[in-house]
Symmetry: C2
């Protein structure tokens, strides 16, 4: 969030650098508008004004408001997902992997309210958000089932509870209805829901949380 | 949903009946617009056109779009809440009370897609929705804690997981990403999260669900 993310490969020519810069400005501006005013505040004029670019520039990069919204979600989650993978890669217990991933989702949103409000204002109906967070979660949960750590009666509802519960927990926290250690408590409930005993869920969810590593250049 | 709800007391004079009828038409029209087009589709013109009333009529009853949205949520949940109370009043086990309430929230939304989409499109950020469903849930959960049936590390996060998870489960179901018995599976996960064993959570959540009683006139 706030970073002017461009394309993932390094642009070579001056024109390509310029394009990546403009796209980054538009995506950053859209992210700020979505976080502060919600989807209703996202107009092409508002985006280009905030990005200090001409209105027509928008259409060199995106065709619709939905398209730039998807780009905002994609850019933000791509980096977060990669950092989470890097963090949990050496871990062997799927319960700990899930706990760390869930806790960092909560702490990143609570620690960066612009990112948190963006998630909340996009909401459970936003397709790109659901289609990015959902499969990541299912993959981690599947590991837990295969390792015999989790008992999951239904994967769709498990993901829905995680996804909706995550956004609502962030919403409560950002609205001042705060909890101590919301990340740990959230993970504790979810690990219970996945079939761990109360004691083990608590112990795993309240371990010291290793910080997210930076991505290598 | 769809009923032309008026005020709770019986209006006496012809003018009062007319007022209740108009208000009911406006609230029904707003509910349909919210369910089909979401908050962005709710304009004063769209509401009055759908209700077949003059634009000015709107302002005899509501000052803002937020006010009529709150009325939609209030009217719909007031009746559902009262019917749930009537159903669960004779029950003694808070786990069963919670299970029935959670399951009827899911089945009512899945069985009446207009009501379901309304809940989903209003979303976790809608204050009236949160302020109505949240306290009802907390009250039921508190009974479970007092009876020693539930172990709740944090009431705010428990409610957030229930509220957000409920809306996301309804969203998944209405979008065709359906589960068998989504109501039972949802209740099963939540009862586990509240500290019940996997076996007991399953047994309670898969009992036959008694139908919602009609309210006495």
């Amino acid at each position: 969030m706030g970073r002017e993310t461009g394309t993932s490969s390094t642009p070579r020519s001056r024109t390509e650098r310029q394009r990546a810069r403009n796209r980054g400005k538009l995506v950053s501006a859209a992210a700020e508008l979505l976080a502060t005013a919600g989807p209703e505040g996202l107009t092409v004029t508002a985006v280009t004004e905030r990005a200090d670019l001409g209105t027509g520039t928008f259409y060199n990069y995106f065709q619709t408001r939905e398209e730039i919204t998807a780009a905002v979600v994609h850019d933000a989650l791509e980096s977060l997902g990669a950092r989470l993978d890097l963090l949990t890669e050496p871990m062997t217990d799927p319960a700990e992997i899930n706990s760390c991933a869930m806790r960092h989702m909560v702490t990143s949103a609570v620690g960066d309210p612009l990112w948190g409000w963006l998630l909340v204002r996009l909401g459970i109906g936003q397709q790109e958000l659901r289609n990015t967070i959902g499969p990541l979660h299912r993959r981690d949960v599947r590991k837990g089932v295969e390792a015999g750590r989790f008992s999951i009666p239904d994967a769709t509802v498990a993901t829905a509870i995680y996804f909706g519960g995550l956004l609502a927990t962030i919403q409560a926290q950002l609205s001042g209805d705060g909890s101590d250690n919301p990340d740990s408590v959230f993970a504790e409930y979810m690990l219970r829901a996945f079939g761990l005993s109360d004691e083990e869920a608590h112990e795993i969810a309240f371990r010291p949380l290793p910080p997210l590593p930076e991505l290598p250049d």
